[in-house]
Amino acid sequence: MAVCIAVIAKENYPLYIRSVPTQGELKFHYTVHTSLDVVEEKISGVGKALADQRELYLGLLYPTEDYKVYGYVTNSKVKFVIVVDSSNTSLRDNEIRSMFRKLHNSFTDVMCNPFYNPGDQIQSKAFDSIVSAMMVQAC
């Protein structure tokens, strides 16, 4: 259902980007990259006092002609971005939310791996399979 799933580190470089292979990768990179600005805006928009109980899910970041971009920020400022085909109307906010939650759980597992160096590219098979499951479901 998702056409592109990205994990962006706190320092705004990608830890993981996976997109549907058929379309141009560059476009998705661009989309994800652009979304970072919106994410940043949204984070800074929330007051500092509220930062603790802040909702991790950011909702729809921005829609483009073909895609809808959803964002999610963990407490450690790691960003998840899911790009969804805008023609896909079956996806509601709740589904996106659960996708993010799943992604977050898997990401936490990756982080718990003692052999993972924080800041490295994610090369976990388990994570890979979760992501591909999310991407396949739609097609």
């Binding site: 320092e11 705004n12 470089y13 990608p14 830890l15 980007i17 990768e25 560059l26 990179h29 990259h33 970072l36 600005d37 940043e40 800074s44 590219q121």
Partner: protein, 1237 residues
């Protein structure tokens, strides 16, 4: 002049008074220095501009003065210093011509391109100029301005008296014609409206400008504001916009501003300029001003939007500048917007490059790269790098270009193949032109393909041919084999077995296990040794990270070689160092160094997209010395399949370069320092030492089988060839399975029968003898190379004269015996040899061979020994008591367990031989006619053979067993057919001595038994007595007899019948215990409970009851049937002899009880009918191995069948008082028939 302009307007300035400029003008202060940017000095064009700008600005005293654009148009033509600079300022008034005149020489002097400025001026001149300026401003300029302002003000005020109303009324009256005129002619071009210079609106404007000049911003703002209103009402948009702009500026400059900065003024002004007046130049000027103001108010995002808004398609340079400024705004924001900065920088760079400003473009891209460098936005990074590469190249900075391109190519790029091919082409082109430019001799380092240095493998030696006709070469080591740690450890252990065997039991200090193939896992701490005239093969691993194929041509190794002559004393003399770098640089054939080192060149090597491929590069050293392999050198080329034909294109895209092989050793982790720090050991894989010539052995196997039946004996041949020019000696072989093969014993005659002639003969040596009593031979194990109890792991191979000369070959027979376990067996041979002359460098060499043998099931032999209860009749009197005692029955149960019905038709048991130190097979008990039947076994058939074994006569009981190592084995052959196989010769005896010993230690074996006792002695001395007893007791039930079953198998293979031969060994150890030739499948080791308490020492000292019951052998002798006339004589007396023989080697006390057991009533019924007469209980003492006969009398009352086996015998060792007597195994039921007559 004074008359003309008045005394106030004239001034005489004396300048350029210096006559010679050669004086010490260095210390002259440079008045411009503080205004000129350092950077502009390097750039002559820029310098001029900035110099002029600064000069003008300096004069005016304000950064940006408000100049009237209309006035400027008048002025710009006449101004001698007019340049195409929008920010250039001119003076709005004609009346100040003298100031312009006066400043002109000054400017000209600054404009002169000579860097040292003001060289013609003395210090006095400086002062004078300064004084002049002051005079000019205070006396001329300011009063002039004041006067003007006053005049204008008066004018305006007076006009205001008449007031606007009149003014507007007149306008309405007279201007009626003016407005329609404007609407017709200039409706579109409202900006074209021109005011006469004395128009009141312009007067206001002029006054505002003057106020602005003298920094009277409040008044200036008001005036601008009025002027704006007037202009607007007149629809003179250009004027209005100008006024608006200036109003905003003066409002901004007003310190302690009473009103907020009117940002919308600027916006309106820009909009008007752009949309209404279509005057982009002015719009931009206004925009820049506005942006600067916003920036100074820290409104960066507004500034950025303004700047970005102004970018347009038509002018690249302008847009680029604006974008760059915008980018800088983004980065200056309170929370820097880095990505926006980078994005706009790239846009700016793009526009710059379109405008042809390459240097600026490159700068922009470099700045953007800082944002993306090292982050994983690969696509973005690739794009930036690619552009940087291109721009750098066009700017003749090839190093940077190469670095940028390299960056694209090395990383795992996600670009498409087409894109990558383009990158690669570009890269190669740049590289090529760079190398042409620099023209340096050392080759550049190429980034592609990736070289995995650590995976480099080095192989010393020739590529071997594996099979040559029927000859099969030793496998040795090849590069194709994967490295296996266990395997290499195994070879190492084998080598460590051989070396002490050669060096009289000690391993020399310099011992170094031979390694022919070095890789990342081998021990590379030492310099490997290579032999001169033997090739060194370096396997290099290339990986192509791209999606396009790479072609490497003229690939060869780079090396450095130090000549060294090892034959001299103390390490030899060091010669010169030679390298092939220069030769390799020119890709021509480098034959010049071939007499030192023959370097193989691979003409073409293609690495497919994303492939990892190995290249094997060969070096052939011709001299001794030290070699260092430095790296690889090659031409890098792209293949476009279509264009590969036309040579000029490919020639163009081909770059020669090198890559170094740098191998990091393993991380050190031994000492504390090493553990706490990260340090790596050396890796000397690529630095071999070339030693003087050594012999080189090739081993070929002829008729070497791949499949064998278990226990099958096969004769093969092995050929040793010395292929070097140096004689070879000390040939030995070690193996993991010494029981698998034998080269024959020294005693056997090594007649050099050719392998073809011996093909159909039996492997055994045979004699034609009819089956009869066993033939006996006595053999010492030493003759078969067996010295101790251990199996010989190392075998020496006899060479004629002990030396194998250069080019000589030796063929010797080799017997193989199929392993006892079925399955595939890996058998490793290690051939050891050394040179005849001892060189310090390389003491020995080895050759490895691995054979795989598939063993299939043949026969299973089970054997049991049991004590014969009957004493031999007939000749027993002559033999004496001793002999009678020591005979034994051996049952051999043979089963055909072969499962392949098609292959093996049947097995024939040809012969059964025995080998032992104490026993020998004497006779086959099976009936003669039965033998032929029994000895043939088809599938899953089974046969039993029974033999009688006797104790060897030559051996005096236990004395020989203890006499030492020179004990001899007796081989007894019992052939079932007409041919006797001499089992005491090669190969039968060889394999017997090489047989694998059973896993449990042989009880009673001389060495192990005594060792056991020794151990127990030391543990519990007070038990010594009992231990002795135990061993005595044990010994009496022990045999040490090895049965060798020799068989023939009839095998059909390819419609041909083959006869295979083989032998199986069974070792009998204990009487009554069945032993199988196939060692039982080891039961899966049960989990042993971990015990934390020490075990209670097992009471071994107590011999088991079962063992004790074998002390005495009993036998009853009596007539089988006895006729007695009961009617005549009611009592029948039968004499019975009870023979007791002591099996043990100690005195035994015996109690014989003849009384019937009175336990059960039935026994009374059976036995009650007869009774023993005379003494019914005896107490005897038997010496060691003594036989005692006891005459008894049985008394019968009536005819019938009786069991005489009632006497119970109890025995105990004489010296042990503590033990009670043990009941001895009762004899078989002994039936006697009493016939009544």
């Amino acid at each position: 002049m004074k008359q003309r302009y008045g005394p106030q307007g004239c001034y005489l300035l004396k300048i350029n008074s210096r006559s010679d400029a050669t004086g010490a003008d260095e210390q002259m202060p440079d008045p411009w220095s503080q205004y000129l940017h350092k950077t502009s000095i390097h750039n002559p064009e820029l310098y001029e501009e900035s110099a002029v700008n600064n000069a003008v600005e300096n004069d005016v005293g304000a950064v940006e003065d408000g100049f009237d654009s209309a006035a400027r148009d008048d002025m710009s033509e006449s101004h001698p210093l007019q340049l195409d600079q929008p920010t250039e300022t001119c003076y709005p008034g004609n009346n100040r011509s003298q100031s312009v005149d006066m400043t002109r020489p000054q400017k000209q002097s600054s404009v002169t391109p000579a860097t040292p400025r003001w060289t013609c001026l003395t210090l006095n001149d400086h002062d004078r100029i300064r004084q002049f300026l002051q005079e000019f401003t205070f006396r001329g300029l300011l009063p002039h301005i004041e006067k003007n302002i006053r005049q204008l003000n008066d004018q305006l005020v007076s006009r205001k008296g008449l007031s606007r109303s009149l003014f507007s009324a007149t306008k309405k009256l007279f201007g009626g014609g003016k407005v329609p005129e404007k609407s017709i002619a200039d409706l579109k071009n409202t900006a074209g409206l021109l005011y006469p210079s004395e128009a009141p609106e312009l007067q206001i404007r002029k006054m505002a400008d003057l106020c602005f000049l003298v920094q009277h911003y409040e008044l200036a703002y008001n005036c601008y504001h009025t002027a704006k209103k007037d202009f607007l009402s007149d629809q003179a948009m250009l004027y209005a916009a100008g006024s608006l702009e200036m109003a905003a500026v003066s409002a901004f400059l007003q310190s302690g501003a009473p009103r907020p900065y009117p940002a919308h003024y600027m916006e309106t002004a820009i909009q008007t300029y752009r949309d209404v007046c279509k005057n982009m130049l002015l719009a931009e000027r206004c925009c820049l001003l506005s942006a600067e103001i916003s920036k100074s108010q820290a409104k960066y995002s507004e500034a950025a939007t303004l700047l970005i808004k102004m970018t347009s398609e038509d002018c690249d340079l302008r847009s680029a500048l604006l974008l760059e400024q915008a980018a800088h705004c983004f980065i200056n924001m309170r929370t820097p917007m880095v990505r926006k900065f980078a994005f706009h920088m790239i846009l700016a760079g793009h526009r710059f490059s379109k405008a042809g400003q390459k240097r600026h473009a490159l700068r922009c891209y470099c700045q953007a790269l800082q944002v993306y460098k090292g982050k994983c936005w690969t696509l973005a990074e690739d794009h930036i790098n690619f552009t940087i590469g291109r721009q750098s190249f066009t700017l003749r900075q090839p190093e940077n270009a190469v670095a940028a391109f390299r960056h694209i190519l090395i990383n795992d790029s996600k670009q498409s193949a087409v894109q990558q091919a383009a990158f690669l082409r570009e890269y190669l082109y740049v590289y090529k032109s760079m190398s042409q430019l620099s023209g340096e001799t050392s080759l550049p380092q190429l980034p592609l393909p990736c070289l995995h240095s650590s995976q480099t493998r080095v192989f010393f030696g020739h590529e071997r041919r594996l099979a040559e006709g029927e000859k099969q070469a030793a496998t040795h080591v090849t590069l194709d084999q994967e490295y296996d740690r266990d395997l290499s450890q195994l070879w190492r252990e084998l080598e460590e077995q051989v070396v002490p065997a050669v060096n009289r039991g000690t391993v020399p200090v310099t011992f170094q296990p031979s390694q022919c193939c070095l890789n990342s896992q081998t021990d590379n701490l030492r310099y490997p040794l290579a032999v001169v005239e033997e090739p060194i093969i370096v396997e290099v691993v290339f990986r192509n990270p791209l999606k396009v194929p790479l072609v490497l041509s003229a690939l060869s190794l780079l090396w450095k070689f130090t000549l060294k002559d090892f034959s001299g004393p103390q390490g030899g003399t060091i010669g010169e160092t030679i390298t092939n770098e220069k030769e390799a640089a020119s890709s021509k054939d480098n034959a010049a160094l071939n007499d030192i080192m023959d370097t193989q060149v691979i003409p073409e090597f293609t690495v497919s997209p994303e492939e990892t491929k190995v290249a094997r590069l060969k070096l052939l050293p011709r001299k001794t010395g030290e070699l260092h392999v430095l790296g690889v050198v090659y031409n890098l080329d792209t293949t476009d399949v279509g264009s590969s034909e036309d040579s000029p294109a490919s020639e163009l895209m081909c770059v020669r370069g090198q890559q170094n092989l740098e191998i990091q050793g393993p991380r050190l982790n031994m000492t504390k320092e090493e553990k706490t720090s990260v340090s790596y050991g050396p890796d000397r894989r690529l630095d071999p030492i070339i030693t003087p010539p050594m012999p080189l052995l090739e081993v070929f196997f002829i008729n070497f089988p791949t499949g064998l039946l278990c226990g099958e004996i096969r004769k093969a041949w092995v050929e040793f060839v010395n292929v070097s020019a140096v004689p070879l000696t000390g040939l030995r072989v070690a193996s993991t399975h010494p029981e698998f093969f034998t080269f024959g014993s020294a005693t056997s005659d090594l007649t050099p029968v050719t392998p073809t002639a011996a093909e159909h003969c039996s492997a055994y040596k045979t004699l034609a003898t009819p089956p009869s009593v066993a033939a006996v031979a006595l053999v010492s194990p030493a003759a078969f190379g067996v010295t101790g109890g251990d199996r010989p792991a190392v075998t020496e191979i006899p060479l004629s004269r002990g030396v194998l000369g250069p080019g000589e070959a030796l063929q010797i027979p080799l017997w193989l015996r199929g392993p006892d376990q079925e399955g595939v067996h890996e058998i490793n041979f290690l051939f050891y040899y050394e040179s005849t002359e001892k060189t310090a460098k390389l003491s020995h060499r080895v050759l490895r061979h691995t054979a795989f043998i598939c063993a299939s099931r043949s026969l299973s032999v089970r054997a049991t020994a049991s004590r014969s209860n009957t004493l031999q009749g007939g000749e027993r009197e002559q033999r004496g008591t001793e002999e009678k005692n020591s005979s034994m029955l051996v049952f051999v149960d043979v089963e055909n367990i072969n499962t392949s019905e098609a292959g093996v038709r049947e097995f024939h048991i040809v012969q059964v031989s025995s080998s032992s130190r104490q026993w020998k097979l004497h006779q086959c008990i099976n009936p003669a006619g039965d033998k032929g039947e029994n000895s043939k076994l088809a599938n899953r058939e089974r046969g039993k053979l029974c033999f009688r074994a006797t104790r060897c006569r030559t051996e005096e009981g236990g004395t020989a067993a203890t006499s030492g190592a020179i004990e001899k084995y007796t081989f007894a052959d019992l052939n079932l057919g007409n041919e006797q196989i001499v089992s005491s010769t090669t190969p039968c005896a060889d394999f017997f001595f090489r047989r694998s010993l059973p896993s449990e230690p042989r009880r009673g074996g001389v060495s192990t038994g005594s060792a056991n006792q020794m151990r127990r002695h030391s543990l519990t001395p007070h038990n010594a007595n009992e231990d002795g007893v135990t061993s005595i007791i044990r010994k009496c039930s022990e045999v040490e007899l090895d049965i060798i079953v020799l068989w023939k198998a009839y095998v059909v293979e390819d419609n041909k019948q083959l006869i295979l031969e083989g032998q199986l060994h069974v070792a009998l150890q204990t009487i009554g215990k069945e032993v199988c030739s196939l060692s039982q499948k080891e039961e899966t080791q049960e989990m042993v409970l971990l015990k934390f308490k020490p075990d209670v020492p097992p009471p071994i000292s107590k011999p088991s009851l079962e063992q004790l019951s074998h002390l005495i052998k009993t036998c009853l002798h009596y007539p089988e049937s006895y006729d007695h006339p009961f009617p005549l004589k009611s009592l029948c007396m039968v004499p019975v002899t009870l023979t007791l023989s002591n099996c043990s080697l100690a005195q035994v006390d015996i109690i014989i009880d003849l009384r019937h057991k009175t336990t059960s009533p039935e026994s009374l019924e059976v036995h009650g009918s007869f009774t023993w007469l005379g003494q019914t209980q005896y107490k005897l003492q038997l010496q060691a191995q003594e036989v005692y006969r006891l005459s008894l009398k049985a008394c019968f009352f009536q005819a019938g069948v009786y069991n005489l086996g009632t006497p119970r015998v109890f025995a105990k060792l004489a010296q042990t008082s503590a033990m009670c007597e043990t009941s001895q195994q009762s004899a078989m039921p002994a039936l006697i028939i009493i016939n009544g007559v």
